[in-house]
Subunit: 114 residues, 2 copies
DNA sequence: CTTTAGTGCAACCATCTCGTTGCACTTCGC
DNA sequence: GCGAAGTGCAACGAGATGGTTGCACTAAAG
C-alpha cells in the first residue's frame, strides 16, 4: 500500500466536484449526450462537455458516436479498482491503529515508534 | 446508489491532491506532528497544517495533544466506508452495462431508453 | 440547399486553491 | 525569566478551476 496509483488520484480529483457527481447520477439512469445533460443541469453545455472530458480522462466515463451525437455512459471498471485500493488502504490504517492499542495494553507504553 | 454522501465528495476532494497523499503516506509509517512532517516534504509547516485540517475535516486523520505538539494519525473508518460506497457504485454501473448488452443480443436493438 | 441540432475551440472572468511570509501565542527546558 | 520548539492566524500572490459567451464546423432533416 505504498504508491497511490496516479489513476486513483485522478479519479478522486474527478469525484471531488459536485457538478460531476450530478452528471454521473444522470448517467446512471442511462447514456446521454452533453447537450442532453445540459437541459436539467444549471450549467451550460460547454461546461458539461469539459466535465465529461475530465471524467473520461479518469476512466469513469466512455463515449460513443451515435449519429451526430456523442453519447456518454458511466463505466465502473476503473472506479471499482480504485475503490478496492482505497479499501485496502483503510484496512491497513485501522490495522496499524489496532496493533498500537495491543502494544499499549500489553505493557510497553506508547512512544509512537516512527 | 443515489445521493453520494457529502462525506464521500469531501473525501474524494481531500484525496485529489498530491501533497495530501504524500502526507498520508508519511502517516502510514506512524503518527507525526505538522512540524515533523514539514521536514521531509517540500512545503512549509503552515501549508502542511492546512492540509491536515482538510484531511481531518474529511475524517481521514485524527489528532491528539502530546505535550506541546499535536500528533496526527491516519484513521481508516471513514475511508473504508467511502471505498465501500464507491465500490457499490462501480458495480451498479457495470451491471447496467451488462444488462444493456444482454438486451442487445436478445433481439431488441438498443435505443438507450433512458 | 437551407435549417437546425450537436460539437469543438478560444477568449475571458471570478473564485478557489496551494503555497508563501510574517507575526503573535503557548509550552517545554535550561 | 528566557530561549527555542510547536502552533495558529492573516495577508498576499500565482496558478488552477469552473463557469460564461461567441463563433465556426459537421451532419441529420426538411
Amino acid at each position: 500500500m505504498n504508491g497511490p496509483d496516479r489513476t486513483v488520484v485522478e479519479i478522486c480529483s474527478a469525484l471531488g466536484d459536485d457538478t460531476r457527481w450530478a452528471i454521473l447520477r444522470r448517467l446512471e439512469a442511462g447514456a446521454a449526450s452533453a447537450s442532453a445533460l445540459a437541459e436539467g443541469l444549471p450549467v451550460t453545455r460547454q461546461a458539461i462537455s469539459r466535465h465529461l472530458e475530465i471524467l473520461r480522462g479518469a476512466g469513469l466515463v466512455e463515449r460513443e458516436r451515435h449519429g451526430r451525437e456523442l453519447r456518454y455512459r458511466a463505466v465502473g471498471t476503473r472506479l471499482g479498482a480504485a475503490a478496492n485500493q482505497l479499501g485496502l488502504m483503510a484496512a491497513a490504517w485501522d490495522r496499524r491503529l489496532e496493533r498500537l492499542r495491543e502494544r499499549a495494553t500489553s505493557g510497553t507504553e506508547p512512544g509512537e515508534p516512527g
